[in-house]
């Protein structure tokens, strides 16, 4: 301790850096740091918990949607079709031979023989087409008595997976007495489209609808959004008109999506008479919704490019277009892509505006082009969740898993591209 704590110059008491009050202050500061660290950790833990919960519940419920139940059916084809010679199964005559076989009747007879008068109710209504497909694939089955695996009805499917109604459980017991039951991966769910029988529906139709819609959205919203942002940032003079445009775009980004649906309905369907339920209209509508998000993100990314780079380029005689395309955009592209990911992810999950333009088409075949009636994943999920048939519950969860996988894939690609474009300074 200095003898004279008073410094003559300022008349101020000399700061006691080692004193008790100072130590207390240091302790308080450490406590505050610790508190903040724990609060941050808590926030991260809470959000991770929610995410984990969501994933566990979704995968738990949805996993069953990817499994289908099959039962055996013994078909004595030679007896049913009369004698078919091996030559009849060779190429020129094969088609005629197959056409002559009444698979439906053979199926009905075999079911009755094995499972009794009412046995058909154990099988899916389209089970006979599965038999036909197997025959087409392997015509030699016709020559012998064989055992084939065919999809069961959705009641049996549910009874096989969990507890179900007493009647279904009873049916399931009967079925197991007369034949075998197995569970296999449900390829049909990934390759098929919507239907009325939950055991037979697939997600491919909706997935393809989403894909086409997203492509339309991206190809419209991205270039138009980026060009608008470049124009507003680099070319437009600052006046009341550009201010008005800026405010409008910011507001547009906040407009509830269903209003874009009404806009799409009024403009594309009623004014331009475009086809209802078509992916092109869905894509256009979602593009309207996504564009402002991209414009805002792109403007911010462009603003963040250091002015010194623009000056450097202009200083060697780059034209305004060259400044933008050689320097500003390459540096802004990672930021633009972040905004695009957010906008596209939002568009992918959108239901309401697409319902407004009729993209809830019940189609049992996937859309083949821009104008075919189509539906998209979230709308499909919405429709299935509304079905009375209990078998749709697990299909709904399975469809959600597909939607999440789609979303994650899309984001992963975008993040990969963004990192590739990232400039290291």
């Amino acid at each position: 301790m200095p003898a004279n704590p008073q410094t003559p110059a300022t008349g101020r008491t000399k700061t006691d850096w080692m004193g008790e009050a100072m130590q207390k202050r240091i302790a308080r500061r450490y406590a505050a740091e610790r508190r903040f660290k724990w609060m941050g950790l808590g926030a991260v833990a809470l959000s991770s918990l929610f995410l984990a919960f969501l994933l566990v519940v979704m995968v738990g419920n949805g996993a069953k949607g990817f499994i289908s139940t099959e039962a055996t059916l013994t078909v004595d084809l030679p007896a049913a079709t009369g004698s078919i010679s091996p030559e009849q199964l060779t190429q020129p005559r094969l088609a005629a031979t197959m056409a002559s076989i009444d698979v439906r009747r053979i199926f009905d007879n075999a079911v009755q023989a094995q499972y009794g008068e009412d046995g058909a109710r154990f099988f899916a209504s389209t089970a006979w087409t599965a038999l036909r497909d197997q025959l087409t694939e392997n015509p030699n089955l016709v020559m012998s008595k064989t055992k084939v695996w065919l999809p069961t009805s959705s009641d049996i499917d549910r009874a096989a997976k969990d507890n179900s109604t007493p009647e279904a459980e009873a049916d399931y017991a009967t079925l197991r007495k007369a034949g075998e039951v197995r569970q296999t991966f449900n390829w049909r769910f990934l390759t098929g489209s919507d239907g009325t029988d939950p055991a037979q529906v697939g997600i491919w139709g909706a997935l393809k609808g989403s894909l086409i819609t997203m492509v339309v959205t991206l190809f419209l919203a991205f270039p138009v959004g980026v060009l608008a942002a470049v124009y507003l940032e680099e070319y437009a003079s600052k006046n009341w008109l550009t201010d008005l445009i800026e405010v409008s775009i910011n507001n547009l980004a906040a407009v509830p999506s269903i209003i874009f649906g009404l806009l799409g309905l009024a403009v594309f369907l009623q004014f331009f008479s475009m086809p209802r339920s078509a992916a092109i209209v869905g894509g256009l509508t979602l593009a309207l919704m996504t564009m402002p998000v991209i414009v805002i993100a792109a403007r911010n990314a462009i603003k963040a490019v250091p002015p010194s780079i623009r000056e450097a380029a202009m200083g060697v005689g780059a034209s305004p277009v060259q400044v933008v395309f050689h320097h500003v955009l390459p540096l802004a592209i990672p930021g633009i892509m972040t905004g695009t990911i957010i906008g596209m992810a939002r568009a992918l999950g959108e239901t309401a505006p697409l319902l407004m333009i009729g993209m809830r088409a019940f189609t049992t075949t996937p859309p083949d082009g821009l104008t075919d009636p189509a539906t998209v994943l979230p709308v499909q999920i919405f429709l299935w969740s509304d079905e009375v048939n209990r078998g749709f519950v697990e299909k709904t969860s399975a469809a959600i898993i597909v939607l999440l996988v789609f979303l994650l894939t899309m984001n992963a690609i975008a993040v990969y591209l963004r990192n590739r474009f990232e400039t290291r300074w």
């Binding site: 000056e311 380029a313 202009m314």
Partner: protein, 261 residues
Amino acid sequence: MLDNTATSSTNPKMSARDVKVFYGDKQAIKGVSIDIDMDNVVAFIGPSGCGKSTFLRTLNRMNDTIPIARVEGDITLDGENIYSSKMDVVQLRARVGMVFQKPNPFPKSIYDNVAYGARIHGLAPNKAELDQIVENSLVRAGLWNEVKDRLSDSGTALSGGQQQRLCIARAIAVDPEVILMDEPCSALDPIATAKIEELIHELRGRYAIVIVTHNMQQAARVSQKTAFFHLGTMVEYGDTSDIFTNPREERTRDYITGRYG
């Protein structure tokens, strides 16, 4: 016309007559006339905020990029008015190159930094000639030996002094007629500064060079002519040796003797 508007050169590369610059309502340059020729490096000195950068940027119309800036008066390059509607501003900036206060290489490779200007102006018909331009420019900027083995490294990975020489190489590669430098050494250490000053000596004669500096020793070392700016006017313009040893104006003397600035 004032007697200190050195309009003596017989055949100036650039000449300015009664140039006024306004930022909105505020006048930053109040009627400056000056001639710049090929043989002499011209230094602009003066206290901060007196308008050196502003005036320098009128010479290649960089002020066009500031919406509120307005330029009056005549500036000619080889007798041609650079503010006339016939003048192509993009080509003007290629002919009147610029080096900025803070080194600002593009976040691209060293090669691409130097090649950029030559590429956009179509100065090299093929890769071999472009390579030649890049090498020549780097040699003339005194950077070749330091970077010849890593031309594909990023220009931003160089040291500050190397970055500034890269920026000079980038300006040279376009083969300009005039090079404007705005305090090119203010962000550099003394060794890097010495290298740039040496470089300016070597570039003299081939290009008309104007350098802004607030370092009077630097002005004395690199320039043959010096213009002293104060509060938006050019107070005195003459041979560097005269300005520093025998200034005509009171304000110049005060400034170079360090009474203010």
